[in-house]
Amino acid sequence: MGSPPFFFEWASRLLPWLFPISFLILMIGLVWGIGFAPSDYKQGEVYRIIFVHVPSAILGQSIYLMMAIFGSICLIWRAKLAGMFLRSAAPLGASFTLIALISGAVWGKPTWGTWWVWDARLTSTLILFFLYVGIIGLYSSIDNKQRGDRAASLISVVGVIIVPIIKKSVDWWQTLHQPSTFSLTSSPTMTADMYLPLLICVIGFYFIFVSLLCNSLRAEILTRERNTGWVRKYLNNKVSE
């Protein structure tokens, strides 16, 4: 499981299944949520952004955690695949966090009248985005791939320890500066008709993440192991197909 060629073959076989399943689940969740879930008492129709906003935010944070876990594996056991995971997962984590930010802002305009609000959750998400960009910038700047992996792993592990501190301090900062606490994306009280499609969307987002991750990892593995025998054989087989 831990060796690049084994994972490559395994991922190549899974992908033709993973993408369709992901799209199916996403379609079910999104169509149900956006099309058929009941409108909210307070926010009307615009709350439907939640079906994209919440899963993106959840994924943005989980991916950061995953990167810390695989980062420690990379540092302790020097597993190449764990390092490659970071390079594939970081852009995905940044993307989901960006979606969460944009959807949060677009949600805010009709609901609260402004494109941005410095509430605790949005601010933490913004900081998370900055952290992702830092990691991506770090490993992009290092030419040696193994070193880049280890540097990214180290910053992920240290970051994941500091992130709860950041969250706590941002929460506290918000109570200092906004005595009238209103959360931009205070979720409407959810009935089952809203909760279920949301859950399906979250699952769908996880599936699409895994699909995109395998896709990206395949590219990363091929790039790095380009000159090895098994890659040459694979590519020549591909050509002759």
Binding site: G44, E45, V46, I49, I102, A219, R232, L235, V239
Partner: protein, 52 residues
């Protein structure tokens, strides 16, 4: 028909919801396309060098 109208416009809030969905689709597509292009490039380079 009225249902579709209602779905698209959503009492004037449809533009926000559909915009968010659009952003989501673009980002997902880009995350798929860029590695795909990398793999394509590697395959082309390989077939070029084996032709030489």
């Amino acid at each position: 028909m009225e249902f579709i109208q209602d779905l698209l416009i959503m009492d004037g809030q449809g533009k926000y919801v559909w915009f968010v969905l659009l952003v989501f689709l673009i980002v997902i597509f880009l995350n798929y396309y860029l590695p795909y292009r990398t793999i394509r490039k590697i395959q082309e380079e390989n077939s070029q060098s084996s032709e030489e």
